[in-house]
Amino acid sequence: METDWIWGLVGGLLIGTGGAVYLLGNGRIMGASGIVGGLVDGSGWSTLWERVAFLAGVVIMPLILWPLYSVKIDTHLTDKMWVIIVAGLLVGVGTRIANGCTSGHGVCGISRLSMRGIIATVFYILAGGLMLALFRHVLGLI
């Protein structure tokens, strides 16, 4: 527990390096929702294979690192199906309408001092915090 922040920082630096490689190499903004969303609605099919390659990398690396961990990794995902489905729908719709998520607006936007990135991040953090407070502490549903 005491070392969690160090791993958070190291992992964060890796995430940012991934974004830097994507930007300086391909000249594009590394946003997870945009890369996936473009495949879903067809708007990104002209860059199909680089999107697929990126997503493959995201899925593969945890599998490579997995054996290095002696402890069992638990994602603590809720087993309440309605929560998972409603949350998934909201995340999918919201990130596409706002044109970005934690990686695009958060990491890539804030680091270039984009006002849209900063505003988006403020709103999704506030909404997330309020939703959790309401459903966990007030209603006791999650």
Binding site: L13, G16, G18, G19, N26, M30, V91, A120, G128
Partner: protein
Amino acid sequence: MRIFISLISGLLFGGGLFISGMTDTAKVQGWLDVFGNWDPTLAFVMGGAIIPMFFAWQFTKGRHPLVGGDFPAPPRTEIDHRLVIGSVLFGMGWGLAGLCPGPAIASITYNGMGGVIFMVSMLAGMLAAPAVGRGLDRAATAA
């Protein structure tokens, strides 16, 4: 070349999400849960990620991407209903499940049936987004 660069970037991104603990929904919700047992990890992840990206943006000035072409145009400045409402909807889902798109993808192989159902729901939401967005535009024009 573009495909190779994308793969390297994806490997770094996926590795970072895994190592940082961001595929653990308890750590993400722990950060959002200011009324509970607050977990500061996410702030370190965000801060850590912004550092290399900040230097990368500085480096783009007066240069071109490795594969040629141009870097992204300066960020748009208009704060419209799509940005605000979309971010609020996203945040609501993020708070409920503790998953955002990046970690949902990174953890797809070890997040069980719930992770798969989240992914399918998220893709369905993305598919519905253009229609929902047009509805929002009409409401915004009427208002």
